[in-house]
């Protein structure tokens, strides 16, 4: 929020920059609606959210605009161009993962490099039961596999619980480790999970090993089977919304403060009564549970999972997102995730198509080895190095904020008055 007074309708006396911002936001929305196949319109449309976030205006104006853009313009344009709808849905999954990892890394300061393991556990728990796989090792007369699509919803919760359990299992032994050691151990944990998934096709076939699991049952809601791209778009949108709300509530709560204190000075935090183990486990478990839920959604959307979707690369990719966007900041995680996915799926892909086209036409002879789309490690690496050196706080640096009632408290009268209020409320 800015220091200047907010007007509901900032028309009068609106500075030129603000006017420009609104022109951009609305222009981008309209443009993308009219030209859903234009890459520039698409990127402008995505950028319009960042501009909207940065524009000083009352939430009462900003939120409906954002809702209109996300719930009307994007789906309409997405029906015209399913590729972009797919990009946005995939970006959305990464947004949710980045916000989740941000709780562990940004809020609590625990560098988790095996985050993808929790994502994998969610994806596999649903996939095993939503394919015929579970029939390999569960033989109850009443159990039929794949389970029906209605089970998708409870499995979102199971996925969260299983991932949270893994988070606690990992967290418990490693909590006393210092930051960089913790990072290496979590990395090891992530790799262990991947290797186990890759090999647990024997002695009992649980994960079907490197072949992966397919076809995964689509979710169903009141008899409707949700298997259209637009269905997943909305599922992911709702998931992101919930995750962001939870993350923001946690941030300003006593738990969020305890995390931040631990991150700043572990010993001082403990001496103020912050229970270290409990708080760290909580960060691990909550971050993991978000990944677990997203894993379930990912599995349903892809209808296919295999261990290669859950490599160390993915963990680093998500880490790069939050470092690019700004550690410890929910909005930063969103910006980082969208930027990285757009860079990968849009800019690099276009560049590589363009180069391929030039090669095919014989204008340039480019060996297939230098397909830019294959160099995502280099991109992630560069993002990490450059951000560390030049802007370690990220694109949108984290800003401490207090809960909304602080302003009232600050301006309100004496202690007596408030105590009466509290007493009245209690009785």
């Amino acid at each position: 929020m800015t220091k200047q007074k907010e007007h509901l309708f900032p028309a009068s006396g609106m500075p030129a920059s603000q006017l420009l911002a609104w022109v951009f936001i609305i222009g981008a929305g309209v443009l993308f609606y009219l030209l859903p196949n234009s890459a520039i319109a698409f990127i402008m449309f995505l950028a319009s959210f960042l501009v909207l976030y940065k524009t000083p205006a009352a939430p009462l104006i900003k939120l409906p605009v954002a809702a209109l853009w996300l719930c009307v313009i994007m789906p309409l344009a997405g029906l015209q161009n399913t590729y972009y709808l797919g990009v946005v849905t995939q970006a959305g999954i990464y947004v949710a993962l980045a916000v989740g990892l941000n709780i562990v890394v940004g809020f609590a300061g625990l560098l988790d490099m095996g985050y993808v393991a929790f994502y994998a556990s969610g994806a596999y728990i649903y996939s095993i039961f939503a394919t015929t796989q579970a029939a390999n090792f569960i033989h109850f007369p009443w159990a039929h596999f794949p389970i029906s699509g209605m089970w998708f919803w409870p499995f979102l919760i199971f996925g969260m619980l299983i991932a949270a359990l893994f988070g606690i299992l990992l967290g418990f032994p490693v909590l006393r480790l210092r930051g960089d050691y913790l990072a290496i151990v979590t990395l090891g944990f992530g790799e262990i999970i991947r290797i186990v998934l890759n090999n647990l096709d024997k002695p009992i076939n649980i994960t079907n090993g490197p072949q992966g699991l397919t076809p995964i049952q689509a979710p169903a809601l009141f008899g409707h089977i949700l298997n259209q791209p637009l269905d997943y778009y909305f599922i992911v949108l709702v998931a992101i919304l919930l995750i962001i709300i939870v993350a923001r509530r946690l941030e300003v709560s006593r738990i969020g403060r305890a995390w931040a204190a631990m991150r700043e000075d572990e010993l001082a935090a403990r001496s103020m009564g912050v229970p270290l183990v409990k708080m760290k486990l909580m960060a691990f478990a909550i971050g993991a549970s978000f990944a677990g839920a997203m894993g379930v959604i990912f599995a349903a959307k892809q209808t296919f999972v295999d261990p290669s979707s859950f490599t160390f690369m993915e963990s680093i990719g998500i880490l790069a997102m939050i470092i690019l966007g700004g550690m410890g900041n929910v909005a930063g995680a969103v910006v980082g995730a969208v930027s990285v996915v757009v860079l990968q799926l849009q800019i690099l892909k276009q560049l590589s198509d363009y180069l391929g086209q030039l090669s095919a036409e014989g204008i340039l002879n480019i060996p297939s080895q230098i397909d830019p789309a294959k160099y995502e490690r280099m991109i992630f690496g560069l993002i990490l190095i450059l951000m560390c050196i030049y802007r370690s706080q990220g694109i949108l640096p984290a800003k401490r904020r207090l809960a909304s009632w602080w302003e009232q408290i600050r301006t309100r009268g004496t202690k007596k008055e408030t105590e009466e209020g509290v007493d009245a409320a209690r009785s």
Binding site: G109, L111, M113, P173, V174, R176, L177, G179, D180, Y181, A183, I184, V185, L187, G188, F189, E191, I192, I195, V196, N198, N199, K202, P203, L267, F312, I316, L319, I323, P367, Q369, I370, Y375, E376, R377, M378, F380, G381, L382, I383, L384, I385, L386, C388, I389, S392
Partner: protein, 319 residues
């Protein structure tokens, strides 16, 4: 059981050979950790670049027809020199570009930068080799092909012995350098206390650069030896090996040079014999595919129960 005893000596030898490679790479982690308190995550790629430099040198010698005429040990030494120089220089460059500007930032910042360097280098090598050779994996020419058969169950390839011998010589040289030479003492002084060392008119920046050169060089030599032992290399060989070498450094006690050597050998042997024994114990349910898991489990166990390692000291936070 009979069968197990048959296989064990061979896996012990394999473990020992790999253990020497781990030890040499672990030295780089431990030395750099000593002076900077940084886990140089990019060290695994310094190792990988060394493997490529050494292999490219051998391929160059081969293409010019020198390889057939010169004695194999000389060819190996030339390749090692290439690996050492390339990796040592790369180590210094990495420090200069990616770590020095953020030396005093919160400790996770240089660590994340190191991860970035590591990823960047993997693809950089892939890109360079792709442009140059149109393939990003290389096969090193074999230098030592004879195999000494001790028993039918234990065949010792000469190249393994060469790896062990070369590693021993280099580690001995490193030990003498660090304990006897003026520069070696300066490295140890900086590792003890940067500020005091700088008051004693030791140029801390030069010492850190030197450490990166020496540590990187050992990694590069290990890379070259690795290539001669296992032939096929690609830009991603560093990752897992690097983690294991780091495990070795932690196992021995991070910051301790003898610790890295002991840790490397121990890990190599534990890993190769451990997995064989586990395979037998579980009747093949846990086989060779879980080899990397074993190393990670060892790492986690040491960090939890003895974070100071075998030869290291436990450091308490100053209150």
């Amino acid at each position: 059981m009979e069968q197990l005893l048959h296989i064990l000596p061979q896996s012990l030898l394999d473990g020992l050979t790999l253990g020497f490679v781990y030890a040499m790479v672990a030295l780089g982690y431990t030395m750099i950790y000593g002076v900077m308190e940084l886990i140089n995550f990019a060290h695994s790629e310094v190792f990988m670049v060394g493997a490529f430099a050494g292999t490219e040198m051998l391929l160059f010698l081969q293409s010019r027809g020198y390889l057939g005429t010169m004695p194999a040990p000389v060819a190996l030494i030339v390749a090692l020199m290439a690996g050492i120089l390339m990796s040592g220089t790369l180590g210094v460059l990495i420090e200069r570009i990616a770590y020095r500007p953020i030396r005093y930032a919160p400790r996770l910042v240089p660590f994340i930068s190191a991860i970035g360097v590591s990823f960047f280098l993997q693809d950089a090598v892939r890109l360079i080799e792709g442009l140059w050779k149109n393939a990003f994996y290389l096969t090193a020419p074999s230098l030592f092909t004879s195999v000494i058969t001790i028993t039918p169950g234990l065949r010792v390839p000469a190249k393994s012995l060469i790896v062990i011998l070369a590693a021993l010589i280099m580690m001995l040289a490193l030990n003498i350098f660090v304990t006897r030479s003026k520069w070696g003492k300066a490295i140890r002084a900086v590792a003890q206390d940067k500020e005091t060392a700088s008051l004693m008119s030791i140029n801390v920046n030069s010492v850190i650069a030197l450490t990166f050169f020496v540590g990187g060089g050992m990694g590069g030599a290990a890379g070259t030896l690795f290539a001669t032992q296992y032939s096929l290399i690609d830009p991603y060989i560093g990752f897992i090996l690097g983690i294991k070498a780091f495990t070795a450094a932690v196992l021995g006690g991070i910051g301790s040079i003898p610790g890295a050597m002991v840790g490397g050998l121990l890990l190599g042997i534990l890993e190769s014999t451990g997995i064989v024994i586990l395979g037998f114990a579980t009747h093949g349910a846990i086989g060779i595919e879980y080899k990397d898991v074993l190393a990670f489990v060892i790492l986690i166990i040491i960090l939890i129960f003895k974070p100071g390692g075998i030869l290291g000291e436990e450091v308490r936070e100053k209150v």
